[in-house]
Assembly symmetry: C3
Homo-oligomer: 267 residues x 3
């Protein structure tokens, strides 16, 4: 069962072991996700060259693949990294940013998913739908659909790849072949800050580096995101999306068990 105690156990382990999360991610999100990993207690590293990613995986505890600003050389490096991660049992966390918006993104998903089935796939409803049925066309990186609308797609991805799927939205759905967990935490300012979806993905990776259950890892990460977001919005210096993103990092860094226990809304 996923409880505030079990999530706190993971956070404590992250803070103690400081897992190295290797991200091949988009240019927009790099700085945010590095800071979020540091605030959580993990250690970020970015490397994207075809002749470097495999070496980096020798020291990484988790691999993040994020297709937000793609090009062919990056796709080739992602493939190499995924294959190396698979061979070393390093968890692979995949963020299909903007899936459905372009052929390049759809093709990347088609090539990369089978290369080493993702341990966790995290996206909004549009992206999960598009990742499952790449014929769909999304409207860029936002999602106007409810998380629930992507549940069928998520189940197909679970079946095909054995991945744990996280559909993020006002309610986050995290599911594998056996269970579905819902996380109700979060705040309405979160979609107004760029790269908070990408941030959720790297938190999933940090949790997956210390917890062998991808479902528990993803649910714990989404709950931590949501609670930190609520704490940020409640802070006395939050006035809008600018100060919210600052308060979010502070809240993640200062997070205490009592905060998590008091605020967790998960079923």
């Amino acid at each position: 069962m996923i409880t505030s105690e079990s999530i706190w156990q993971d956070i404590s382990e992250i803070r103690e072991k400081v897992p190295l999360v290797h991200s091949i991610t988009n240019y927009v999100a790099m700085n945010n996700t590095a800071n979020a990993l540091l605030s959580l207690g993990a250690s970020p590293v970015m490397a994207h060259a075809e002749n470097e990613v495999e070496d980096m995986l020798d020291i990484a505890g988790a691999l993040v693949i994020n297709i937000g600003t793609l090009s062919d050389p990056w796709i080739r490096a992602m493939k190499l990294a995924i294959e190396k991660a698979k061979s070393k049992n390093v968890p692979i966390i995949f963020d299909p940013v903007g899936a459905g918006a372009t052929g390049l993104r759809n093709n990347a998903i088609h090539v990369l998913f089978p290369s080493g089935p993702p341990t966790i796939i995290r996206g909004n409803a549009s992206e999960i739908n598009a990742a499952a049925a790449s014929a769909a066309t999304t409207r860029g990186v936002d999602s106007t659909e409810s998380s629930e609308s992507a549940l069928d797609s998520a189940r197909r991805l679970v079946e095909t790849y054995g991945s744990t799927i996280c559909i993020s939205g006002a309610v986050d759905y995290i599911l594998d072949s056996e269970k579905t967990v819902k996380v109700y935490n979060g705040h309405q300012l979160m979609p107004k800050v760029t790269a908070l979806g990408c941030t959720a993905t790297v938190l999933c990776a940090a949790f997956a580096a210390v917890n062998e259950s991808p479902l528990e890892a993803a649910a714990g990460a989404m709950a931590t995101m949501g609670v930190a977001g609520e704490l940020a919005a409640e802070s006395d210096y939050c006035r809008g999306p600018g100060s919210f993103q600052i308060a979010f990092l502070d809240s993640l860094y200062n997070l205490k068990f009592e905060d998590l226990r008091g605020k967790l809304r998960l079923e």
Copy 2:
């Protein structure tokens, strides 16, 4: 006539329609400009690969081309994007960052301007001068010249390309073949924060996505920038360039008609 009412009309339309702004921009500015678009109410997407940019323009309401961190593959992608935007009547907003500093930037301008004449060109005086007379050499990305010193260059660009030109500075000049508008809003901390020029450019794009007059769009965007900057500087938590950039995003997000009406200084 451009008034606080007409500008507010555009802002309301941006917030309601949430236009997708496709940016091919520099690495330094990506995160800032994405956040500024979100705070204004628009939706950002970044894509720079030659085999992706045309697809992205199928769903974009405006295209931003910013040459701040160039390389040949990006220039080729910019050309494809511009030609696609032109064929679909998507407004093209061009930011000639550091024009005049290097041959690569000057050549990029020479190749890209004719590919699809920019709807709006926004730069500081150095950049507008260099864009008009590429023999000039600027000192990187700052401008020590007054906006006024680039008026002749701006007029040449208006004539040659039919573009609306925005020279930003202590006073912003926005001009087309018929009119010249001056915006006096802004704050002295703005040049101390990186990528605020690039931010002005993406705001021009969001306005151009909802207003068919490039002059009105650019003037509205610059006035909104300036007013949000003044509000940021006045906020109780602004102590310097770091907190200013945070307060700027908050102010943009929280902007009300009364703020705009009370502060607008435009003629």
Copy 3:
């Protein structure tokens, strides 16, 4: 002798002359380092294309080479930039981010250091050790070793390349063939913010643009970093790593001689 007066002299000269610092740096740090240079009073420019970097050096006062997110085309551009900087006596400040973690980074160091011996090399203990003995394997970009543990490596680099070495950590060691300076300033939140090491490197570059002694430049930059960090941590709006990085920029911008004189701990 390095005193608060001599450091303040450099800061005043930076603010007056506004040296242009050309950085070929990693994607994660670009925005932070640009803002830190602006807050200090210098002017940042980023350019990384092989066919642009030499032109940019014609107007640059210092060159920053940072290997945090490498690829072959960037390494080639770094080599060209270093050779041009050497031929023009522009100081070269090298940040061996993640040295030892991968073959690509080690090879880059082997190729680039001899191309134009760095004026200043700044890294944490792991990186300085790995740069000196590229057989070593570091754990990404963090350092768990004390600065002191890299002193032997630093001395070898001084001998081989004639560079001034800065080992940053809880205590910063800055040494050349004649002297070793220790800077005790800084704050424990600094390693929890991404790119503050890279920020220290660009401050070294700004100081080196106005001070012909690399030892004085690096010591002044590290002292300025540390004092600004202490001021940031003491500010009434610092609650964690998020607000710390904002307060750091504000402190750097607002830095006064009295702050430096009151807080400097250097020997």
